[in-house]
Each structure stands twice: as structure tokens, then as C-alpha cells.
Symmetry: C2
Subunit: 413 residues, 2 copies
Amino acid sequence: MKEKKMRSMMHEFLVLGCVLLGILGNVSAGITSSFVRSEFPAVDMPLDHEVFAIPSGYNAPQQVHITQGDYDGKAVIIIWVTPSEPGPNIVKYGTSENKYDYTAQGSKVKNYTFYNYKSGFIHTCLVKDLEYDTKYYYEIGEGDSARSFWFKTPPKIDPNAYYKFGIIGDLGQTFNSLSTLEHYIESGAEAVLFVGDLSYSDEHEYSENGERWDSFGRFVERNLAYQPWLWIVGNHEVEYLPEINEVEPFKQYLYRYPTPYAASESSSPLWYAVRRASAHIIFLSSYSPYVKYTPQYEWLLAEFKKVDRKKTPWLFVLMHSPLYNSNSAHYMEAESMRVVFESWFVKYKVDLVLAGHVHAYERSPDYSAFREASYGHSTLEIMNKTHAFYHWNRNDDGKKVETDSFVLYNQYW
Amino acid sequence: MKEKKMRSMMHEFLVLGCVLLGILGNVSAGITSSFVRSEFPAVDMPLDHEVFAIPSGYNAPQQVHITQGDYDGKAVIIIWVTPSEPGPNIVKYGTSENKYDYTAQGSKVKNYTFYNYKSGFIHTCLVKDLEYDTKYYYEIGEGDSARSFWFKTPPKIDPNAYYKFGIIGDLGQTFNSLSTLEHYIESGAEAVLFVGDLSYSDEHEYSENGERWDSFGRFVERNLAYQPWLWIVGNHEVEYLPEINEVEPFKQYLYRYPTPYAASESSSPLWYAVRRASAHIIFLSSYSPYVKYTPQYEWLLAEFKKVDRKKTPWLFVLMHSPLYNSNSAHYMEAESMRVVFESWFVKYKVDLVLAGHVHAYERSPDYSAFREASYGHSTLEIMNKTHAFYHWNRNDDGKKVETDSFVLYNQYW
């Protein structure tokens, strides 16, 4: 096992380090849960596990995943991979099952190499001008290899729109990751705010690294082909590996997980913002420059000024490394970002700051309100412009157990 | 005047914010000089000033500047610009005047656009396998347009090697910049450690921005064609300008000011290290990622482990934004880097941390030992493995006045 692997033992599970600023409602403060994981570290599912199965048919599209494609939720980006040849680069879609009235053209098909791995053909297709609050069916591929899915657009931007988000981070592809994903799918949430660390491919041997990006894509397709996840980078996306001459940060991630960054006038896919239902959501990179004079800093300052709490009363910020963290793992690792952005988050009355990285759940109104060394997922259910419900659901021997919840009062209203 | 210009009023002068860690010798502590600049902010020299003169002859090479080209000082990189066509892409050189026994081939000639500016043809030529402590003559261009210069290689790496560095930052192209450069040239120092902010071209109108990079290159050629400057980026190199669709950080800088980064196994020209005489010198970027997991962090950790104080007893670090700064301008702006690297600088017994940015001189053994709101340059004269002399020389109505000096005792020996 490589030294790099040993260094980050706490790998591959769904985890959430959740950081909240401000007044968080009527929950008692300062709880450390007595729960102890039965399996730690978690074990990766083997590559021949059914969750990684390759779809049948020659050159069938695989690893289908979608994300929001614009600023306001009327577009999606659909990404998929074809293994043998580029194949058709279009998405057929419409509002009736098996009847596709529209076609969208993908952007230029890409592939890349990483060490001795050569990727499949990566398709990225923007489907825009959609109606709000509508179910769309779509098909990619052709003939026997064609595959069809659906997604639902969010309600129009409205201060009192109801919407239920899921929150997941540090997912990986272990047996526990599967529990998390299955529990999440049952939650009824409609989109995931993903706080970084997707495939953990970098914890595998170099020769398996690229393949583990593919297997992860096939594993999460069961949900990601049907609803948008909105992602940011974690440390496992950096993949700075001078020993194999792979030194371009986020190389594999950037090929595979695009974002609608230009729609929020960002200059990089690594930081961006969207509006969805009643929420304005800001996505940051913990591993890109963020000090004064740098693009992320200048962009964030401009983006905060664009927030209109009358239209989107809820303001959330995502980053990978938590500003507050009372666990020993990764303790104070984000001080470097905290000293730059903390005062802005207070000034602009951010309702929730969501982070990952620590592989344990923690909520912090004063210092730490509730923490638990567990894996699982959260949901955030926005009821209206003043109230939202937050739930933490841990994985407990494969079962979903809700162990923390609170009412969130809007910081602005 | 644009908002961006107003924001950074303190522009365009030679300035040094010098930060020292540890015991700094027998100087009294806590002095604020009573000196007041007669001209502040300084005034840019007009483009028709003789210091910006274009050399005669069709397509004559201009903006000639050199930097160290390898890890140990046996190579230089020579950079120049031809205005009309690429022209010859070679350097002729040798150890006798007007007699060039050797030829080095430049790498691919480049040019670029920036807003409505189109650059000249930028040549970059590595001249390697030089002898130590030797004067070399070189010629670029051809026919009537040929131009010749010389440089001196440093002594071989040796713990007791004598060497005199200059230290300059925030230079710009004002009348005061000219004073600084003239004073520096008289100092007898053999190479400059440049702490960022070169041309201040970004303080000009967009339409003049590119041209001001050219004029700066012609202005500093009087020294930079004859001795290496070792540079880092400052905030004025970032040039993130979404309003004119120029958002690639450091774009113009990277075309014009290469570094020997690969020689120190860095993956970016923005951070690197060299050894020169008895010094190991580390060059950092204040505006690139530097937290755990990022390339600069991982690289720096590896580089510190390569330092051999028996071979190079002196260890210096350069960055643009100072970790300690008691001036109100830019106060605590580098906290974000301080929380990441400060403990390493102590652990690895760095002798000097040199920074710029503040447009005032300050030295800080405890908190602030000496500060003065002046422009000027410093020299660092390494006597042997235990002692070095540091001098701050301000510009005082065009005269050079030495106002701070101290003996530096090596932190390791």
C-alpha cells in the first residue's frame, strides 16, 4: 500500500461535516453521539459487484449523470461515457415517455489519458429552455444500446417554493457508500448538494485509478441519471501525483464533472453559483486560490452582491474543508479559508455552510452542537421563506437511523 | 479612472516589506522612521521617456532579461522580444568579447493577445552547462540589429561562498522606479531576488496594458540583460479582468517571465527553488493554492526536505504578501498563508522571509524592528556560512540613503 494511501486512512464513505452559522433553532447544544461504526475504515466493493455492471449492448452509454445547467434551473447538463467509440453525441428528450420531441447536440466529445489509463469517450450535452416543475424523459445511445432516463425540473424561483435537497459528501464506492445511496434515494429529496470527494479513485493503485472513476460513475448512475447533483471538489479530486507525472490538479474531475460556472460569471468550473427554487447556492473550491486579488475571491464578492433574499430567501455555501471542526481529523485545516471568508458569511447572513472532508457528522451553532462518527446522508427540506427542516440520517449496520434534526430559521427573514 | 485603479492607490514604486524570522543581530528594535516621501503616489514615466527607447535596427531584440536556468546556477534563461517578425531564435555566446564559440537554440517562439493588444514575438532560450564564476558574453539578433550583452555566473555551491544579492519588489516604471534601479546598479550586487509586482501595467487603461509590459521590459533591460533576477508573482501579475474577458491568472507574466521550475521538480512556474552560491532560495506564490493536498504545499514540503544546510547554510523564502506587517495598508492580508506555512519556516530555520506588496520597508524580529514609508532597494551580502549583512537603501529626493542595516546570523550554524 502506498504511503499516500496510508496517510488518508479514513476513506471512501459517505460523510458529512456540516457547519452552520448563526441561530439554528430549538435543539440542545453540545452532543457527542455514543454511536460507533461497526466497520471502519469501510471496504470498497469489488469491481465485479453488480452495482458496477456495464450496461448491455455495443458501446452502450454508461456513467450517466446530470447537473444543473444554468443559473436558474431551466437547464441540465447531461454527461455520459461511451467505451468503444464516440457514437451519437445527442440527447433526445420530451415530456412524454418514449416520445422525444426534441434533440440537443452535445459539445465536442473528449477523452484523456492518466498514467497508463485511457478514458472512454466523454459526452457533455446542455439541454436548455426547459419548463419549470416538469418531468422530462430522455434517451441517449442508439439501437439496442439506447438507454432512457428521466428527470424533474425544479419549481420556478419563488421565495416560498418548497424544495427538498439531499446533502452528501465523501461518498466513495464502498459497501457503506451503497447504503448511503440507497437510503438517500428513499428520502424523496430532488437534488443533491455534494460537498466534494467523489470516487476516491486516488486511493487505488495508479493502474486502477482511472478505472475506479468509471466504476464510481456506473455505481451512482442509479440516482445521478435521474436527478441533478451539484458538486464541488474535495481533496481526492486534486490528484497531484508527480511520481507518475500527473500534476494537473483536478484533471480527471474536470473531464467528468462539469458545472454551469459561466452562467454565474465565474471563470472556472471549480467555483460557481446557482439559484434553485427558493435557494441561492454558492459552490467554492477549498483547493483553489481564494485570497484577495484572486479570481475566486473577486467572483465571490460579486456573487454575494447579486443575492436577492426577496427572491431567494435561503443562502447556502458549499466547500469541502469545514471552517469549524472539533474532530481531531483535519482539525483546523481550513483556517486558511476561514480567515478570508468567515466575516463575509456573517455579513451576508448565510443560512448554512455545508462541508465534508472529516468523515463524521457535526453541526455547530456555538461550537459543536451535535457530532457523531457515522456515515450517512442529510436532507434539507425548505418549507417556505422562513423555515426549513434539516435531518442527519446515519447508516447503522445497513439501516437508516435519523439521529439529528433541527429547524432552521432563515437568517434574513 | 477605473474603480480597480482607485482601490490600489499605492502603486508603482519600488517597495519592500521585509519579514525576518528569528534572531537578527545587534540592532535596536521598534523604530518607525520619521522619513516622509516627497512624492506619493509616484508618477509613471511617459512612454516617450528615453528609458523606454526602442533599440535601433529592423526587428531589433528588445526587453532582454535573464534569470537562473537550473537548480545550481550553471544555466541561464535568456528572454527577449522581437517586434516585427520572429527573426533568429538563437543565442550566440562565449567567454571572450565579440567571439561567440557556442550557440543555444531557443524554445518555440510565442506571442499572445490581451484585450486589443497583440504582443511581439517572445523568445526564451536556455543556455546551460556553463562554468561557475565566469563572465559570458552573448549576442542576439542579426546584422545591424544584433545586440550584445554579458553576464557572470555565480561561484560554485559552497557553504562559505561570498555572494551579494539585491532585493527589489513592486518596482513599476515611475521616476522613483528609475532612482531605485540606478541605485541598485551601483550596489555591486550580482543578482536580484524580486518579490513580485513588476510592471504595474494593470493600473493603466486596458488599451495601454500590454504596451506597458513592453515598456517595463525595455526600462529594466539596463540591468536585467546583465544579471539574473529571480522573480515571483505579485497581485499586479494576476490580471483577472472579467470585464474585458481576460480571466486567466498571470497570463502576460507567464509568457514573459519564465522560471526554472522543473529543475526543482515543481509542476508550476509560479513556485520553485534554486541554489546559488551558499544560499538555498524558495520562491512562493501568494496567489496560488497552498493548503494541504495542493501542489504548492506538497512541493514545498518536499523541497524543505531537500535543503542541505551543510552545502547551502543560508535558507531564504520569497513571497509577495508579507506574513507580518504592522502597516495599515494590506494589514493581515497574508494570514491565510501564515496559518499554513509559518510553523514550517520556524521548523526548517529559515534565515530570511522576503516579501513585498506593502510599499513600505519593514523588518520584524519581534514584531516590527524598523519601518519606513519609503521607496528603495535592499542588498544582502553573504560573507560566509555564519554571517551576512543586510542594508536598506531608500530613495530620498533621488539620492540613495542607507537607513537600516543589520548583521544576520545564520539560523542553522
